[in-house]
């Protein structure tokens, strides 16, 4: 067995390396499904916005299929959707233009996998975004979380002039600290 390489912080100056072009735009008119925005902020233990964090999202297409060979349905996945995006948090926070994912076969509700990187985080944090307009209690991962903390994973559906916006903040610390996961094999 080889020793895995340790993580180090992304630091404050990752924009030129990790945010080329429109990394936060996952979908355009050709993408199947309901177009949505996901918007929010990353907050530190004082409740202050973290302006040098980086969020990554990974999600299924509108049918619940991933564009990756480990998905048995990948050949039928939306050819105009990779499912991966990045956003910085400078200014108003993060923003993703994407589509609402479909439900993965044999799962109960849609969700999006999220990673948080920041200066001051030697190792990234992993969380999930669930949608407020679904009965997420049917999802075993969501249901296993203490009820008082479940809301930290819920993105709130709002209708805005520019379309549907899901609002969701990530709290790194504090009374409403977001639920973060340890991935198991």
């Amino acid at each position: 067995m080889k020793l895995q390489s340790p993580s180090q912080t992304v630091g404050p100056f990752f924009h030129y390396g990790l945010l080329p072009g429109d990394a936060h735009i996952l979908a355009d008119e050709s993408t199947w499904g309901e177009p949505i925005w996901i918007r929010g902020r990353v907050l530190d233990g004082d409740g202050e916005p973290v302006e040098d964090a980086l969020l990554e999202i990974w999600q299924a297409d509108a049918q619940g299929y991933f564009a990756h060979p480990a998905d048995p349905h990948h050949l039928r996945a939306d050819p105009n959707f990779r499912g991966f995006g990045r956003s910085g948090t400078a200014g108003a926070g993060f923003a993703f233009r994407t589509i609402k994912p479909g439900v993965i076969p044999q799962m109960a509700v849609p969700f999006i996998n999220v990673r948080v990187f920041a200066r001051g985080m030697l190792v990234h944090a992993v969380t999930r975004l669930y949608f407020s307009d679904h009965d997420n209690a049917a999802d075993p991962v969501f249901a296993a979380i203490a009820p008082a903390r479940q809301k930290t994973l819920l993105a709130l559906r709002t209708e805005a002039p520019g379309g549907v916006v899901y609002r969701w903040d990530v709290r790194l610390q504090g009374p409403d600290e977001t639920v973060f996961f340890d991935l198991h094999g």
Binding site: M1, Q4, S7, D44, Q59, V123
Partner: protein
């Protein structure tokens, strides 16, 4: 040898490492909640050659305006493996770094050192079938930061690896052998295991120097995971 966490927490740095002051308000306090891998974690973004430009791997040329960047030209190469020693092919590596004077092009970098009109300091490459990669760049300079009095970051290149699925993601930094600043660096010293710390120090590689042109460094990277078979036999 039973380990269920994909990240090996005996060698990965903790969230809270008080000598690195910025961790104090940004470290989650609750214990992490175990999450068994589902299809959403056994998949991840896939990249191909079409995603890359011809000069993306060469930081000495990919931002050149009217000449070559200033500094010591270096070749950084290595192999990406998983924990069972299996090469990780066709994975995206992205790097970013300061210039030879220790200055990032980023607008928030206030270090009083010159920018280089011919250097942005960002590059990308896909590993080949054997998990190998090569970048050509400039050796970055050390630079001061405000973590503690007279704090200096050791020279480093930031590395980001997508891996073959969601669980293999790694963001780390490559350091240079013999750097006297390493012993004082709270970011490097956040790693709790001496062998793991050594993993992040590139080896000088005489065989991969290009005579009369550039020095070579080898930097191998081991991603978490032991059983990644999805790409076997090509696609």
């Amino acid at each position: 040898m039973s380990r269920t966490s994909i990240l090996d927490w005996s060698i990965q740095p903790p969230y809270l490492h008080t000598p690195y002051v910025a961790t104090v308000r940004r470290a989650p306090h609750h214990p992490l909640i175990p999450l068994a891998s589902s299809l959403a974690e056994r998949t991840g973004p896939v990249y191909g050659e079409g995603d890359l430009g011809p000069l993306d791997h060469d930081l000495t040329r990919n931002a050149a305006k009217n000449g070559e960047p200033v500094g010591e030209r270096i070749i950084v190469h290595g192999q990406v493996l998983d924990e069972s020693g299996r090469p990780v092919p066709r994975t995206l590596i992205e790097i970013w770094q300061a210039n030879a004077a220790g200055r990032y092009i980023h607008k928030n970098d206030q270090h009083e050192a010159p920018l280089d009109p011919n250097f942005v300091g960002a590059g990308r490459v896909l590993t080949n079938e054997r998990g190998e990669y090569t970048f050509i760049t400039i050796r970055p300079g050390a630079y001061p930061w405000k973590n503690h009095p007279n704090a200096w970051r050791p020279a480093h290149i930031h590395f980001s690896l997508i891996g073959q699925n969601f669980t293999q993601r790694l963001v780390t930094q490559m350091y240079f052998p013999g750097d006297p600043l390493l012993q004082y660096d709270p970011i490097y010293n956040g790693i709790p295991n001496i062998k793991a710390k050594e993993r992040l120090i590139a080896c000088f590689d005489l065989e991969h120097t290009r005579p009369e042109w550039a020095l070579g460094y080898r930097f191998d990277i081991v991603l978490a995971g032991r059983d990644q078979t999805y790409f076997e036999g090509g696609r």
